[in-house]
């Protein structure tokens, strides 16, 4: 059974993006940060009739320290690990007051989403709460000073996976949160990237116009934590997709489509742009390359298995 209605887009593009800024300049994110790109675009699309929620994460801090604030819409912060349920609580309470038309969105980091916040996220998804959940994935706990998360890729340096003389970076692989979300059979799950803005805008707009639980995970480089040039955010994000380190797809009511076919360029270029991978041995780079190939192969099979023609 289809669990959603809507999903129509008028086709917002970079050119037709509303001019009104609801997430304004003056926020204090580091130069080149990917997260505010996500938030700014999403707020333009969602519009003023929106209530937002943020957990503890970089966004909470750069979005405004009391009495300053970069948002022109209401927001609530409660804690780190309860974004999905707080958004759901807001939505249910607004509905109760007859304010059904208000968009409720939670923006959260990868740690607040896939690690400590996963219980509340999974619960809200299972109950098909009518919210939009946007995870900006910068692959570590940045707000607390670059510690590894479940989303941190293999080999990456973080302050809790240091490039030591015995062990060089993270020994485990990136957790595939979007696929876990797909397994919840929610109306909409998609991945996006700040390196592919047109695709990102389309997905945000589509998600906005649907009902039920909608999950978007957007790849958003963190130059500070990734030890990279602040001018290369978009380039790095593009390379992640082109090398198969990050895959763009979407699932609408159980049908999965690939948004961009990975070119499967060698991962070397992507890794070389970031200091967090500087210490990697050839052996480790080979492991990452192998992971990317394998992931790509699995993703293609997955997309094939859940394609439109397979839906009876």
């Amino acid at each position: 059974m289809d669990r959603h209605q809507g999903g129509e887009t008028i086709g917002i593009t970079i050119k037709t993006l509303p001019e009104e800024e609801l997430f304004t300049s003056g926020h204090t994110a580091c130069g080149g940060c990917g997260a505010p790109i996500v938030v700014r675009a999403a707020m333009k699309i969602l519009g003023p009739n929106t209530v937002t929620y943020f957990p503890a994460c970089c966004l909470l801090v750069f979005g405004g320290t009391y009495p300053h604030n970069a948002f022109k819409v209401p927001y609530l912060h409660v804690l780190f690990e309860n974004s999905a349920i707080c958004a759901a609580g807001i939505k249910q309470a607004l509905n109760k007051q007859g304010k059904e038309d208000v968009n409720v969105v939670a923006f959260a980091g990868d740690g607040g989403t896939g690690d400590i916040g996963f219980q509340a996220l999974s619960g809200a998804a299972e109950r098909n709460e009518d919210i939009l959940y946007i995870c900006y994935d910068n692959e570590a706990y940045m707000n607390t000073g670059i510690q590894r998360s479940g989303s941190t890729p293999f080999g990456a340096w973080t302050t809790t996976t240091p490039a030591g003389t015995k062990i060089g970076g993270k020994e485990l692989f990136k957790k595939d949160i979007p696929k876990i979300m797909m397994a919840h059979n929610v109306p909409y799950v998609a991945t996006a990237s700040v390196g592919h803005p047109a695709d990102m805008l389309r997905k945000i707009e589509k998600a906005k116009n649907m009902k039920g639980f909608r999950y978007l995970q957007i790849f958003a480089p963190c130059p500070t934590g990734w030890r990279m040039d602040t001018a290369k955010t978009v380039e790095v994000a593009k390379k992640a997709v082109n090398s198969g380190m990050w895959t763009l797809f979407e699932m609408v009511d159980g049908v999965i489509t690939l948004s961009v076919k990975p070119k499967m360029e060698p991962v070397d270029d992507y890794l070389k742009m970031q200091g967090r991978f500087r210490h990697l041995t050839d052996e480790q780079i080979k492991i990452i390359q192998g992971w990317a190939y394998k992931k790509n192969e699995m993703d293609l099979k997955f997309v094939e298995a859940f394609s439109e023609d397979k839906k009876e």
């Binding site: 003023p48 009739n49 929106t50 209530v51 929620y53 909470l60 801090v61 405004g64 320290t65 009391y66 009495p67 604030n69 948002f71 022109k72 819409v73 209401p74 927001y75 609530l76 912060h77 409660v78 804690l79 690990e81 309860n82 349920i85 707080c86 958004a87 759901a88 609580g89 807001i90 249910q92 309470a93 607004l94 509905n95 109760k96 007051q97 304010k99 208000v102 219980q119 509340a120 999974s122 619960g123 809200a124 299972e126 109950r127």
Partner: protein, 393 residues
């Protein structure tokens, strides 16, 4: 008014319906489960028109209540023991953001070892979260205080969340005759909640929970403290109004029983109070000058009321169903703080932890200890464990 024979859990659930709560979010735990089940029945039978969020944990249930309350609606949840411990982190937000969530807590021992019977070591450790706490004695009081709780919590001078604490099984699962207040009278007593301090609405954007530097947080603490103090007065007012409208007077912050002319007064909280009342009657009949104070509100703490009691007796005993290790029972610690500078002995009697029955002989022993202290002007032991294997009381 209709009289029905119901459990404490039923009274707690029915009171939520009478209060016309907008959003309920809850998670089951023994011995609170029946509250969630009854509410589910009310919703599914079309009797209760609330958004009902069947969450995946208490952490989420409390988060949902906090978030919903932040939009300006009336919210309710209920829990016990481990569930309350899991909520701990979220409780502070309700207190500091002035969100008047109402929550019956069925007092149950917190592991370990795991058990399901009455102890106050779930609610007592939450005393500094900015929540009010009222401890009740019977199922009528569960009903009445759950309704009053909304009125106290939503008062503009207070705006703080509140726990209605009822002892596991002794109330939660035991049936007693309860007067069910009429809906129209409750509606008159408790008008709809219409806040202006916390309303998430795009038409008038407001930010709640902003990251805040030291320049601002201390004032937030002061305000929570101040409004908690304001609640002392509001509790009394609401009690008086309830007494007038519904004919039941609980005494407000504390209830005194035969304290006039008493040399030895025992301060109890929760269900032990009923047994203690009987023992007071028995001792008085035998010419022993004892009296009883039922401590109803633990937060706000009724310092002045306790001082007044102390100024008319020779010794005080404070009963606790929880212990702060190496320091004594929490209610006793509070009473001693209130009575700093008073010269009468104030002793602590601990019994019933983990849900052990507190029997009539136990309570006689408590009064005997306080009488002895009153006579001697001092106590041999300040902290007395009663009914503990291998420990001399």
């Amino acid at each position: 008014m209709v009289k029905r024979v119901v459990t404490g859990n039923y009274a707690a659930a029915f009171a939520a319906m009478l209060a016309r709560v907008d959003v309920i979010a809850a998670y089951p735990i023994t011995p609170q489960t029946f509250i969630v089940e009854h509410l589910s029945e009310f919703v599914n039978d079309g009797l209760l028109d609330s958004a009902f969020m069947r969450c995946e944990s208490e952490h989420s249930a409390m988060s949902a209540c906090v978030a919903a309350s932040a939009t300006g609606v009336r919210t309710y949840t209920a829990t016990a023991s481990q569930g309350l411990a899991l909520m701990h982190e979220v409780l502070f937000i309700a207190g500091s953001a002035h969100l008047p969530v109402v929550m019956p807590v069925v007092n149950r021992t917190v592991a370990g070892p795991i058990g399901i019977w009455a102890e106050h070591n779930d609610t007592m450790p939450q005393r500094d979260t900015g929540w009010m706490q009222v401890y009740v004695e019977d199922n009528q009081e569960v009903m009445d205080m759950t309704i009053q709780a909304f009125k106290i919590a939503e008062d503009k001078r207070v705006l703080l969340p509140i726990m209605v604490c009822l002892d596991a099984f002794i109330l939660s699962h035991t049936v007693e005759p309860v007067d069910f207040p009429d809906q129209d009278k409750v509606d008159k007593f408790l008008p709809p909640y219409r806040p202006d301090h916390a309303v998430l609405d795009p038409k008038d954007p407001m930010i709640i929970g902003s990251f805040s530097p030291p320049e601002y947080i201390q004032e937030v603490r002061y305000q929570t403290d101040e409004t908690m103090r304001n609640a002392l007065e509001v509790v009394e007012e609401v009690n008086a109004e309830w007494a007038k409208e519904f004919g039941r007077d609980y005494g407000g912050l504390i209830e005194e029983y035969k304290t006039e002319g008493a040399d030895a007064i025992l301060i109890t909280l929760g269900t032990v109070t009923s047994t203690a009342r009987d023992i007071v009657d028995e001792y008085r009949a035998a010419g022993k000058k004892v009296g009883l104070v039922k401590l109803r509100f633990f937060r706000p703490y009724p310092t002045e009321a306790i001082r007044k009691v102390a100024s008319k007796c020779k010794a005080i005993g404070v009963y606790d169903r929880a212990v702060s290790f190496s320091a004594g029972g929490p209610s006793w610690i509070e009473a001693r703080n209130a009575l700093y500078g008073y010269t009468i002995p104030v002793i602590n009697v601990l019994a019933g932890l983990g849900g052990r029955d507190v029997t009539e002989p136990d309570i006689r022993l408590m009064f005997d200890k306080v009488l002895e202290a009153a006579e001697k002007g001092e106590a041999e032991n300040e902290i007395v464990w009663i009914g503990t294997r291998g420990v001399k009381p």
